[in-house]
Structures are given as structure tokens and as C-alpha cells.
Amino acid sequence: MKPGDKEKTVRAALFLSALSAALILLFIVFFLFKEALPFLSHGDLVGFLTGTVWKPTANVYGAGIFIAGSILTTAGALFIAVPLGVACAVFLSEVAPKKAVNILRPAIELLAGIPSIVYGLFALIVIVGLVQQDLGKLLTGDSLPTGKGILAAALILGVMILPIVISISQDAICAVPRSFREASYALGSTKWQTIQKVILPGAMPGIAAGVILGVGRAIGETMAVVLVLGNVGMIPSNILGIDSRGETLTSAIMLDMSYVPVGSMHYAALFTLGLTLFFMAFALSMASEYLLAKRRRQSKC
């Protein structure tokens, strides 16, 4: 071996490992497509994406209910995670004394580390019970027929995506230049006015990126949703009760895949659901990266 050869071999190995993530991604897309192909070449894609009847036994595959289910639960989760997350990010970077930061930071990291199945168990036993018994009695005077549904799913998903919304928003807030804040104070504004009129607008692209990442997480979440959404093939039309149940892309894949015959049309349709999920997650990730890259150019933090 010549002296330069070792350096060359290492170089090649490092290049390959840097490419590995992209290669795995390519492999995943390839396999999803390959398995979905019998369905993709057969049926119409528009009917698949907009259809609202999913009946594999009758060869009817309308994924619209699952797409709607995913979007509705995610939207519900945002109602909780965005106000709470952004407020918490502002608190951490603008208001909190050091002691509070030192308690809150590890707490948020821990919240991010809790396995989704543990969230699911907690939601199934605690939140579903609260919705069915307590909220039911409060609103209708009687307990509800079921506590499962979009409210319970949105509540737990909202908590699950809080950490990512907080951490990205906090980076964005911290990237707002110091001079902006000082100019605002110099003009006589209060802290609250500065937050409202200077910091939040300045941090908006970064906050949006954090929210988009949160949306990606929520859409891709499986275990918690499958336990609390009720898994009924319909679009939730209410916030409470039996009409609030539904099914998402992830829970449909999870539940059907365990019994579907390999190679059947139903099997290919499930991979088409997986492909749909993949492209949604990919688009959301690229959108947030775009927003974050723009911010990185503007300032360093």
C-alpha cells in the first residue's frame, strides 16, 4: 500500500457514509413505490385521494377519510401546541429568570423523550376517561357513550409536539438582533409591546418553521392516535361523542397491515397510503428547512 492509499480509502469511506442517509431515503421511496405499483397503475389517484369510502372487501379504496382524519387531528393539536409553545418560547428567551430556565429546559427535553406509546397509554386511560365522564357530565349532564375521538387525540398530540414547537421558536426568537430590541426600548416601549411588535414579527419565519415541523410530527404519529381516535372509518363531524371518532393515515396502515395478504390490492393500497404520508412529511420538512435556511442567512444565533 502506498502512503497516499490509506488517506484515499478513508476519504471514499467517509464520502459513502455521508451519502448513506440519501441512499436509504432513495431505497425507502423505491420500495414504497414498488409495493404500491399494482394499485397506482390500476386505479385513479384522484379517486383515491378524495374518496370517502374505504372498503377493501368491495375493492373500494377512498383514502380521503384518512387524509381528513390526519389533517383534522393535526389541526386540533395545533390549537394547543402553538399558543402554549410560542408563549413558552417567549417566556424562556425574554422573561424567565435563570432559575426558571434551568428547570424548564430539562422538563421540555424530558417531554420530548417520552415514548409515544407511553403518551398513548396515558391518553387512553386518563384523557379518554376525563372526556367521557367529566366533560360529558359537565356539558350534557351525563357521561358520553365514548371518550375516544378527535378531542382526546388532539389533546395528546398537542402535548407531544410542544417540545419541537418550543425549541425551534426559541431559536427564532433568540435570533432577533439585539439592536431591534434596544431600539424598541429606546423608543419607550414596554417589554410586552416589544415582544408583541418587534420580537414576534421578527421571529415569525422561524416560528412558522417550528410549527411546520410540529405538523409533520403530528401527521406521522401512530401509537397515541391509534389508541385514542376510535379507529372508525369516517370523517369526524363533531368534537365530542361517537361522531368525533375517526381514523388517520398512520392508524389505517398500522391496523390493516397486520392481516392483509401480501401482494393483494389492499396491500398495495396500504403502501399507497404510506407513500402519501411520505410525501406529506417530505414536503413539510422541505418547507421548514427553506424557512430556517432563510433565517440562517439573515443572522447568526
Binding site: 455521508a18 417520552i114 406509546i117 417589554k191
Partner: protein
């Protein structure tokens, strides 16, 4: 202003109520026997040892796969290239892989290992599936850790006549090590807590203690899922909470270690 304090307080409240409730409901079953004993009666009695071993074994395989690749990728991205079209592709690959829902990894692992490579559901298949999933986490944290190595140390090494490879192995990697380990621990925690990617690869019953990577296995998370979704009575739920407490405890310890290492890293940089 009060609202901001309230929002921070509510996050602490949410965390505490989840952790305390889970541990409280699980405390009945928790103990040495629960962690180190053999299970009986579809996990409803006895201990969780086979599932614990299965989880640790798959995570080990995942780390053996993802750690060298992730560090290699980070070294390449920081030391061997200028930002260009190729690095952009590599970064998009890593970011997109990071964004893929875990259930899609499950579909991929299922088709690749079981249907194409015709393997049995095994520790190896599950470990690699989890390894694909945590690769981006390790790449990104290793990249950040390497970028934090002071220029003066790298230039000092070159000034002493070291080659690029010597500088990487002698200066850059040792200095970045705490940060790299933090990333590996983050990946470890994520791999240990995931359910969806391995749901079709883990077996539920009978209990199996896997010896070779080609053996089938049980895992804590999939067992927890079955106990929860098939729950017929209170006993299932009590058990499920005990397993959840064990998972929470693991996450807690890992988080603490990662945090301690990270603090040491930032102390190093200041010095």
C-alpha cells in the same frame, strides 16, 4: 406577562402529571422481580426480562449501524468538502430521513427484510430498521459537535505536520467526543422508545431470550402496545403502566446522562 408564566407552569404541570400518574399506577408491580424475572401468563405476571433484553439488543444493533456511519458522514461534511451540490443532496437526504414517519420505517423494514431478503422477524431486522431511523439524529449532533472544535486546535495539529487523517483521529474526534456521545444517547433513547417501526418485527408471546441477532425477540414497547390495545381487565392496565414506568425510567436516566455530558462539553469549549 402573567400568561407567559402560566404557560411555562402548565408545561411543568403536564409533565409532572404524566410522569407521576404513570409511575403511581405502575408502582404496584414494579420491583427487582419485575425487571429481572421471567414472564408468565402473557406478561400479566412475573417479570419483563426477555422484553428488556430484546429492546436493548435491537438498540445495540441500531447503534452499531448508525454510529460509525453518522460520525463518518459528519466528518465528511465538515472536513472534506465545500458546501456544494453534493453536500446539499446529502443534507436533504438526512433532513428528509429525519422527517419520515416511524410507521413508514415499519413498512420499509417489513418489505425489505421479510419479503425481499426473506429473513425471519429478528433482532437484526428490527435493529437495522431502527438504525436507519436514528441515523439523521447522529449525523446532525456529530456535525454540531465537530463544528464546535476550536480552529486553533485543528491548525495547531496541522502546524505540527500532522496529516488530515491524523488531525481527525488525534484532535477533532477526541475533542468532539462528548457531543458525539450526546447524540448517540439521544438516538439510543429514541430507538428504545419506538413502537411503530418494529411492530411487525417483534413477537408477542411466548417469551424469547435472543442470543444470536437472527433470533426472534420481544420488546418493551410492542409488549406495552399489546397489553394496552388488548386490555380485557384492570390487570392488563396495571401491567401496562408498570412497563411504561420502566420505559420512563430509562428515558429519565438517558436524558440525565446526555445533559451531564453536554454540560461538560460546553465547559470544555469555554476553557
Amino acid at each position: 406577562m402573567t400568561l407567559l408564566w402560566l404557560s411555562a407552569g402548565s408545561i411543568l404541570l403536564i409533565l409532572c402529571s404524566i410522569v407521576l400518574y404513570v409511575v403511581y399506577r405502575g408502582s404496584h408491580d414494579l420491583g427487582v422481580e419485575f425487571v429481572l424475572g421471567q414472564p408468565e401468563n402473557i406478561w400479566l405476571a412475573g417479570g419483563m426480562l426477555p422484553a428488556l433484553i430484546g429492546t436493548l439488543y435491537t438498540v445495540l444493533i441500531a447503534l452499531l449501524f448508525a454510529t460509525p456511519l453518522g460520525i463518518g458522514a459528519a466528518v465528511h461534511l465538515t472536513q472534506y468538502t465545500k458546501e456544494g451540490r453534493t453536500t446539499k443532496l446529502m443534507r436533504i437526504g438526512s433532513d428528509a430521513l429525519n422527517a419520515i414517519p416511524s410507521i413508514v420505517f415499519g413498512l420499509f423494514g417489513l418489505t425489505l427484510f421479510l419479503y425481499y431478503l426473506r429473513m425471519k422477524p429478528s433482532v437484526f431486522a428490527a435493529g437495522l430498521t431502527l438504525g436507519f431511523m436514528i441515523l439523521p439524529t447522529i449525523i446532525r449532533t456529530a456535525e454540531v459537535a465537530i463544528k464546535a472544535v476550536p480552529w486553533s486546535e485543528i491548525e495547531g495539529s496541522y502546524a505540527l505536520g500532522a496529516t488530515k487523517l491524523q488531525t481527525i483521529t488525534g484532535v477533532i474526534l477526541p475533542t468532539a467526543l462528548p457531543g458525539i456521545i450526546t447524540g448517540v444517547i439521544l438516538g439510543l433513547g429514541r430507538a428504545a422508545g419506538e413502537t411503530a417501526p418494529i411492530i411487525w418485527l417483534a413477537s408477542f408471546w411466548p417469551p424469547i431470550t435472543p442470543l444470536s441477532p437472527a433470533d426472534p425477540f420481544n420488546s418493551l414497547t410492542t409488549t406495552l402496545y399489546f397489553l394496552t390495545s388488548e386490555a380485557q381487565n384492570e390487570q392488563y392496565i396495571t401491567r401496562a403502566f408498570a412497563v411504561a414506568s420502566l420505559l420512563l425510567f430509562m428515558v429519565l436516566v438517558l436524558n440525565y446522562v446526555a445533559r451531564a455530558l453536554n454540560n461538560r462539553l460546553s465547559a470544555n469549549i469555554r476553557r
